[in-house]
């Protein structure tokens, strides 16, 4: 009899670790995350309010800060919709059709993620900069891309290029084409198919991609830094403004503006967490249908 009682207990202990091992591992994990994640996040807010709430509000309502916030919103406001339209178009042809060269196309779409932000800015300087391919032509026509807002938008579009596409493509591939084909047979037009069949099926993944794309667009530093020219009140985004304040030893002000971006990061994480489960549910549903 005793063997029957002992067996399940020993089996359980055979597939889990002793309690002291468990808590040692939890301790190591938490210590690592505390040192590298939690404390850096906490210090942003601590430093931001260190000199009082007055200094904090003065820093974020400074005209240069406000213009930096405005430019950041403009850059994200243009680049996110552009990459959204691209993501949908790319996902439509890649997930719903079989064609030659698809894998090459998939790799090329991911390319911007493996390019250093600094190089992402540099390549636009090579094309639109004064010494660049079209630099002379642009100067003759009194157009400015580098060291101006269009360059900042272009660099932002480049670094956030794959976000929406890479969320949509795997989900739409898993969902297959049966529903769209049924809609087609029943006489729906292309736009009707997309709006009534495809879009409801992928809306959470689409939102997920947009959230990630927006976070990167608002926070990009390296690429924007190369093309911006750092003209105060004109071509400074929030991250660039932080750098200037920091280099001028205005630490409280730098951290105040940084706390806005850290707040944005936290909102992003909350939204991401909320949407992630719904994306997973849609993926699971697609998998079950396929079986």
């Amino acid at each position: 009899m005793s063997a029957v009682i002992v067996a399940p207990r020993s089996l359980k202990s055979a597939t889990t670790e002793p309690v002291w091992v468990k808590w040692t591992l939890v301790g190591i994990a938490l210590a690592f995350l505390t040192l590298f994640l939690f404390v850096p996040l906490a210090i942003v807010f601590a430093e931001a309010f260190k000199k009082g709430i007055g200094v904090y509000f003065a820093a974020i309502t400074d005209p240069d800060a406000l213009s930096a916030i405005k430019l950041t919103l403009i850059a994200a406001g243009i680049s996110v919709p552009m990459n959204l339209v691209f993501g949908v178009a790319a996902a439509w042809c890649i997930a719903k059709f079989e064609f030659r060269g698809k894998n090459v196309l998939l790799t090329l779409i991911d390319l911007p993620f493996s390019v250093s932000p600094v190089i992402s800015g540099l390549i636009y300087v090579l094309i639109f900069g004064l010494q660049g391919w079209w630099g002379g032509w642009l100067r003759d026509h009194d157009l400015k891309i580098i060291f101006a807002v269009p360059g900042i938008v272009l660099a932002t579009v480049f670094v956030t290029f794959p976000f929406v596409a890479r969320e949509l493509i795997p989900l739409m591939q898993a969902q297959g084409t049966e529903q769209e084909e049924a809609a087609r047979v029943l006489g729906a037009s292309g736009w009707q198919i997309f709006r009534r069949v495809t879009l409801p099926n992928v809306k959470w993944a689409l939102l997920y991609g947009v959230i990630l794309c927006n976070a990167r667009a608002m926070g990009e530093f390296g690429a924007v830094s190369v093309v911006s020219g750092h003209i105060r009140g004109q071509t400074n985004t929030m991250p660039l403004h932080i750098e200037i304040l920091y280099n001028e030893y205005q630490f409280a002000a730098a951290f105040a503006v940084a706390s806005l971006l850290a707040g944005l990061a936290l909102v992003t994480l909350v939204l991401k967490y909320a949407v992630e489960r719904r994306v997973r549910a849609q993926k699971k549903l697609a998998g079950e249908r396929a079986e």
Partner: protein
Amino acid sequence: MLFSRTLLKRHSVLPGFDLALGFTLLYLSFIVLVPLSAAFLKTATMTWPAFWDAVTAPRVLASYRLTFGASLGAALLNSVFGLVVAWVLVRYEFPAKRLIDALVDLPFALPTAVAGIALTALYAQNGWIGRFLPFKVSFTPLGVLVALTFIGLPFVVRTLQPVLEDLHKEIEEAAATLGASRLQTFTKVIFPIISPALLTGFALAFARALGEYGSVIFIAGNMPLISEITPLLIITKLEQYDYTGATAIAVVMLVSAFALLLAINALQAWTRARQGR
């Protein structure tokens, strides 16, 4: 019509292929392919010796050593601790686990400049953490390692988590039944199954660290030959209007990044094959 005649492998009743692919290719070319090719074409105007001199100058070589070395170190740190974090998050229950799990993605969401000034303040000699350390971290190569570890933190955790979740309990039970100790089960049964994912996470963290700029420049101190990373050197050359020199170094970095991308793709295919998907 052009694309559907030449490229389409199987006829489809769905509309929009030509329009969608046409737009995709056009946008991809304008935003990514043409600008990237500009870097290679610019370098092609250099003579081979000039190119070689530009990419192997002592200051440049020192920056490669620091960038590749610190990226490697950070990716290794993240592999070890990322494995522990992923294991703990998948296998154990403890307070605030879900919150901690969600916060692991923070380096993806936090702008690099914010991370940079936060880490610099923390690890400075009078900072919250720096004051307890007997050696300098901020404004030394060690600071570069700290920043790159922060940036690469989520990659190993997030590639390991799904693989650990999919691990069948039966395998571990079988190992235990056959007399394996818990440690043996881990090293001989679990570890071989998760190792492709661990390697993928390592490579992703390494690749991300190689190009990183924003978080590093605040904490590094940026002394030539000592704590100057390659992306910063590219910017320095640009600011001196040495466009060809900057581009030559950029091409070296691009080629390494693309080689790494191919390796990661192969690794991911291997991971999927291991999992039998």
